[in-house]
Symmetry: C2
Subunit: 198 residues, 2 copies
């Protein structure tokens, strides 16, 4: 090969990113090589900085640059509501929705007997402690509508029941802009069962 | 937003890579954040290293880590043949084919009156000088089979003609493994015109 070892290594590392394979990683690295000054150097620096400073929030598990993430540190966010999500990506998605003004709890996955992921791995004892310590009124289960997500949601509901906290979950139904014709049968029947007076 | 400024900057920079948009850049950055030690730090380092060391070869325009790229510096590569390609990506593609044992000349684009890219921007005077200086017998035009690529190829053929060097171009025809049914009409007629005795 003509490209030297360093470039090869860079391509291999880039190919490990989700959404990039060996071919698209090579394409991305070539684009970087052509914009060494404007793009490659700043990107490398930004990445090194984030790699050094990024921390998991000790309270909710969100990723920030401090021990406590901006959401947990924000006094304007309601402390009485905790939204439980599987993943930091889900937390970011919720934040983009701009509808939730409480705090979060990131599980970091779902219960899975096969992968030996139990309640301790997901920080569920920590969630229980938070519910008591932070005088939480409502826990919103915003887990993915998958089998694993819903299994974990049921487990959480059972585990949280003795604390007396109100447990809710996201509504299921037709997405905004959705066409019935393209929806799966499960969504249509869930939307029908949860129908509301017009 | 919950993600802090550094992470936002990183996502914006990643989104400028070809093949990544804002969404997939966010996904890639999240994957990086989850593998800070194993992936993010080494990737940042590899990128910074390449950004510092990568250089355009002063002879052929290939990207390497020295003034003269490994191909131009390799005494085993034939000096009498120059393969002209549009882009470093094309050079890498040719090298993967492992069929060419000569040297290259990377134009860095195609002639374009609209974008004010003339012969000087493509290093065509430098190519002419090389043909004389390196006692080149054959110039292989391996430009893309696009309108711009072929226009540039015709210009090159005209410009190189006075030097008396042999000018060839890649064959056009049915790709290996190609099915006639899926080929465009232009390729089929080119393959028919260039048919060979079986």
């Amino acid at each position: 090969m003509n490209d030297t070892a360093g470039i090869e290594t860079l391509i291999e590392l880039m190919a490990r990113l989700p959404g990039l394979g060996p071919r698209s990683a090579r394409r991305a690295v070539l684009a970087l090589l052509k914009k060494r000054g404007q793009l490659m150097a700043p990107l490398a620096q930004a990445m090194a900085e984030v790699a050094l400073t990024a921390k998991d929030c000790v309270i909710c598990g969100n990723i920030g640059t401090a021990e406590i993430c901006p959401i947990c540190a924000d006094p304007a966010r309601a402390t009485g509501e905790i939204c439980v999500v599987e993943d930091v990506a889900d937390l970011w998605a919720m934040e983009r929705g701009q509808a939730f003004k409480g705090r979060y709890h990131v599980l970091g996955g779902t219960l899975s007997a096969l992968d030996a992921i139990g309640p301790d791995e997901l920080g569920i004892p920590r969630l229980l402690a938070r519910v008591t310590d932070e005088a939480v009124r409502e826990v919103i289960l915003a887990l993915n509508a998958t089998v694993d997500g819903q299994t974990t949601a049921h487990y959480l509901a059972e585990t949280l029941a003795p604390t007396g906290v109100q447990i809710t979950s996201l509504a299921q139904g037709v997405p905004i802009g959705g066409e019935l014709n393209y929806l799966d049968d499960g969504t249509i029947s869930a939307a029908l069962r949860a129908r509301k007076r017009f």
